[in-house]
């Protein structure tokens, strides 16, 4: 992974919002025992993952442009972009898994689906924060 400095960007703002949501969802999960609390927990988790998604896609755009700016030839630029996109693939898959888990939790009433969705959302938001911080 390429390491570059980024100015304080919208990605950081999205991440901040995501972390706030994360705190809210952990709090709400602790007391999630009624239907309305379950709905609230899923909504908060979705908001957190969506914020992380927006932070990630913003960072992705800036990161790809940084690669283009640093390229000394078209061939090198194409190779670096291809390399980065291959490394990006697992991150997109993690978002897909997290979103799908939330969809499952939204259609079920059991504790297992809710816990799994919240755990995936929490891990993903934290991982995205680490990814973006690590590239700065």
């Amino acid at each position: 992974m390429h390491t570059h400095r980024f100015p304080r960007s919208p990605a950081s703002t999205y991440l901040f919002l995501g972390l706030v949501c994360l705190g809210m969802l952990v709090t709400s999960l602790n007391s999630a025992c009624t239907r309305s609390q379950r709905v609230e927990t899923i909504q908060t988790s979705l908001l957190a993952v969506t914020s992380a998604r927006d932070g990630f896609t913003t960072w992705d755009r800036v990161h790809q442009q940084t690669i283009v700016d640093a390229a000394t030839s078209k061939e090198q630029g194409l190779a670096l972009l291809a390399d980065y996109r291959e490394k990006r693939r697992p991150w997109i898959e993690r978002f897909e898994v997290a979103f799908r888990a939330l969809a499952v939790a939204a259609t079920q009433t059991d504790e297992v689906s809710l816990s799994a969705a919240v755990a995936l959302a929490t891990e993903l938001v934290q991982a995205i924060e680490d990814l973006i911080k690590g590239s700065k």
Binding site: V39, R61, I67, K74, L81, F95
Partner: protein, 96 residues
């Protein structure tokens, strides 16, 4: 008591529901015309109408629906594709 925003929200959902149910009903009529008396066809139509009803009810209650989550996922894929295209275009322009 619901405020104007709530009423507008509910009316928007209701309008979408009417459109969806009209579409399902149209398909139902066509299906029943082609397969008169088929129990499966009737059940599939009832199931489709029930699914529309559940989605509408979830929307009115402010719950997360599967469609909402799918939309979030679709938006992410579209944005990533746009990012790729922007980078490719920028690279082309740089070494033109």
């Amino acid at each position: 008591m619901a405020d104007a925003t709530d009423v507008k929200h509910i009316l928007t959902i209701a309008a979408a529901a009417v459109d969806a149910i009209e579409s399902v009903t149209k398909i139902a009529r066509q299906t029943l015309d082609q397969k008169p008396g088929k129990l499966e066809a009737v059940l599939s139509v009832l199931s489709a109408i029930a699914a529309v009803g559940e989605t509408v009810a979830a929307g009115i209650r402010g719950e997360v629906s599967v469609e909402m989550v799918q939309d979030a996922l679709t938006e992410m894929r579209a944005t990533v594709t746009q990012n790729d295209l922007a980078a490719d275009t920028s690279l082309d322009a740089k070494f033109r």
